[in-house]
């Protein structure tokens, strides 16, 4: 009898031990599911250890393990940029023998650069959403090649509102050792990487950051110690005028830009396929001066009947002055042509009807402001006769005088921006020195502004 009771007690204890072990194991399981992650997540939702466990998880087969590994790598890379105190660099997923390869060194330095740039600028990615698609893998015994597309949305306090977005396809080369896959090579479909002559060289992160810090310090000193450079610098003394002052409202211009950046036709001003950039920018300025309705000749536009056939202030869609016929005929077309528009503002005076402002051909990009028009010379020497492309500035951040192309947002036609607020550095790789700045201060007209 006693033996039976003891046996039953032992049996019950064993059951409890097994049950508790299972529950304990389940409670402490840190293996996250790749299928859930592929749909999208905030990269700080999981710990460093959870990503490492994911990467080690063999899953059901080699396909699964490789997918686990590359998702773990890409997630850790983003989490490290956001919080380097807590997350390791993603190279922990890379084969030790591959750590010295140029592609791995380049990739790893790219993450370090982003993290240190954010640190220098005081930026924080306070929210993100990472998702994956189009996973493919080819396995040949102990070698594999896998590709995956990453969609990365993030919110960063860089002075701009709204989300930032990047899409990239990665191609991984992997090798298998002792039953586990590791990464030996990583490439992306960034356009510069796909060029034949692209060289994978580790970014000199400390050097680049030090240079940037130096430039920022110089710019800040200039802003603090020198008189602010006025928008009408070098215009000379403003002449007295009998014309009426019209207010230029950049917000109205920006609203127009937001409503029309995506146009491929326009019932009032028409659309010139392949060359609509200045027409669009002129329309934004026209709206900022209170322009509305269906007339292309009414004020704030300036028709030939108002300015005269040779007036330097003719500013009307598809109309031209003869003022510059012996100099450069492009300057005759101030509504439609980049050189013409910039020159019209440069020579504008309060005594001639039309927009009044200035054009600063070089050295003033850092002062770019919402409501300005930027004019690019694709050869890098913006001047009266060399401008190629017009963009309307819809938003800026940072300090006036030291703004970079990453701190200016634009709307443009021909080529179209992908939003009314596209960051200039994501639109073109042209440096700041390639841009002239056109400032519209106000307008002067014979009639009063309605």
């Amino acid at each position: 009898m006693k033996k039976r009771i003891i046996a039953k007690l032992i049996f019950i204890v064993l059951i409890i031990i097994v049950f508790c072990s299972t529950a304990f194991a389940a409670a402490n399981s840190t293996v996250i599911d790749k299928d859930t992650l592929a749909k999208g997540f905030d990269t700080l939702s999981y710990t460093n250890e959870e990503y490492k466990e994911l990467a080690k998880n063999k899953g059901q087969n080699d396909n699964d393990q490789i997918e686990n590994l590359i998702i773990g790598y890409l997630a850790t890379e983003k989490a490290y940029v956001r919080n380097p105190e807590v997350y390791e660099r993603a190279v922990v997923f890379v084969d030790e023998k591959a750590l010295t390869s140029n592609t791995i060194a380049y990739r790893e330095s790219e993450s370090r650069y982003l993290q240190e740039l954010n640190n220098l600028m005081g930026w924080t990615i306070y929210e993100d959403f990472l998702s994956f698609s189009q996973y493919k893998v080819t396995i040949n015994q102990k070698m594999a090649c896998a590709s995956i597309v990453e969609d990365y949305k993030y919110f960063i306090n860089d002075g701009f509102d709204g989300e930032s977005y990047r899409r990239r396809e990665y191609t991984f080369s992997l090798s298998k050792d002792s039953g586990f896959w590791t990464i030996v090579d990583i490439k992306t479909n960034d356009p510069w990487e796909t060029e034949d002559n692209f060289s994978y060289t580790e970014i000199d992160v400390s050097g680049v950051i030090a240079q940037l810090a130096d430039e920022m310090a110089k710019a800040n000193n200039t802003a603090l110690n020198e008189s602010p450079i006025g928008e009408l610098e070098d215009k000379g003394e403003k002449a007295a005028t009998s014309l009426n002052h019209w207010t230029y409202n950049p917000n109205e211009a920006i609203t127009y830009a937001a409503n029309h950046y995506n146009d491929t036709s326009n019932s009032v001003f028409g659309y010139t396929e392949g060359n609509d950039c200045q027409n669009f920018a002129s329309q934004c300025v026209w709206a900022g001066l209170g322009g509305s309705g269906s007339s292309t000749s009414d004020r704030p536009a300036v028709s030939i009947s108002v300015a005269g056939s040779d007036g330097p202030n003719v500013w009307q869609r598809n109309a031209y002055t003869t003022c510059y016929s012996l100099i450069n005929t492009a300057l005759n077309w101030s509504w439609d042509n980049t050189c013409g528009f910039a020159n019209m503002l440069k020579v504008s005076t309060p005594t001639l009807e039309g927009p009044y402002g200035n054009t600063q051909y070089s050295g003033y990009f850092g002062y770019a402001n919402a409501g300005n028009v930027l004019e690019a010379d694709w050869n890098g020497s913006p001047a009266r006769d060399t401008l190629d492309h017009a963009m309307f500035v819809t938003h800026v951040s940072g300090t006036s005088g030291s703004r970079t192309t990453s701190q200016v947002k634009i709307a443009a036609h021909s080529g179209e921006t992908n939003t009314a607020y596209q960051i200039l550095s994501s639109y073109t790789a042209a440096p700041a020195s390639y841009f002239a700045r056109v400032v519209i201060s106000c307008g002067y007209y014979a009639t009063t502004q309605s």
């Binding site: 969609d151 977005y165 990047r166 899409r167 990239r168 479909n189 960034d190 356009p191 510069w192 796909t194 060029e195 950046y261 995506n262 491929t264 036709s265 326009n266 001003f269 028409g270 659309y271 010139t272 396929e273 392949g274 060359n275 292309t296 869609r317 598809n318 031209y320 005929t329 492009a330 005759n332 077309w333 439609d336 042509n337 013409g340 690019a376 694709w378 190629d388 492309h389 021909s414 080529g415 179209e416 921006t417 992908n418 939003t419 009314a420 994501s426 639109y427 073109t428 790789a429 042209a430």
Partner: protein
């Protein structure tokens, strides 16, 4: 009498011939751009052919004096750049373009050509032009049509 009839017939033929010649000349340059000025493009299964037609047909416009085509070819780097820029963007959403649609139906053709324009009729810049043409494919007809152009030399880099 016969001679007069012969002379009349000859004159009639001359007048008709002159009329045909004048009508032919007028027909050669009938396109007059107004506020809107589209590409005169012949959509094609080949994006290169579409772009070639658009550039060649610039000669049909009353402001064009001359067009000489240099090179026209698909640019893979610029195509990737365009897809990266537009897939998932506000513009794509506004136009109803899915990620898959743009991934499979957007392509960039690079063209180099020389053109001369009458600057009393157009503001367009002329001389040697280098341009990226962004085309979209109609999923029904499978033909490529120019959607936009980009003159930024960094676009394909």
């Amino acid at each position: 009498m016969k001679k007069w009839i012969e002379i009349l017939f000859i004159c009639a033929f001359l007048v008709l011939g002159l009329y045909a010649f004048v009508a032919y000349q007028a027909d050669m340059s009938t396109y007059q751009a107004d506020l809107s000025d589209p590409w005169i493009q012949e959509v094609s299964f080949s994006p290169v052919e579409t772009v070639l037609s658009a550039i060649q047909n610039q000669i049909e416009k009353d402001y064009t004096w001359d067009v000489q085509i240099g090179e026209v070819l698909v640019d893979e780097n610029a195509t990737e750049r365009a897809k990266q820029m537009y897939i998932g963007s506000d513009l794509a959403k506004a136009n109803g373009w899915s990620d898959a649609y743009l991934e499979n139906n957007m392509i960039v053709v690079f063209a180099k050509y020389t053109v001369a324009y009458d600057h009393e009729k157009t503001f367009l810049p002329d001389g040697e032009i280098e341009e990226f043409f962004i085309l979209l494919r109609d999923e029904n007809t499978q033909k490529w049509k120019i959607w936009d152009t980009n003159g930024d030399p960094f676009f394909g880099r």
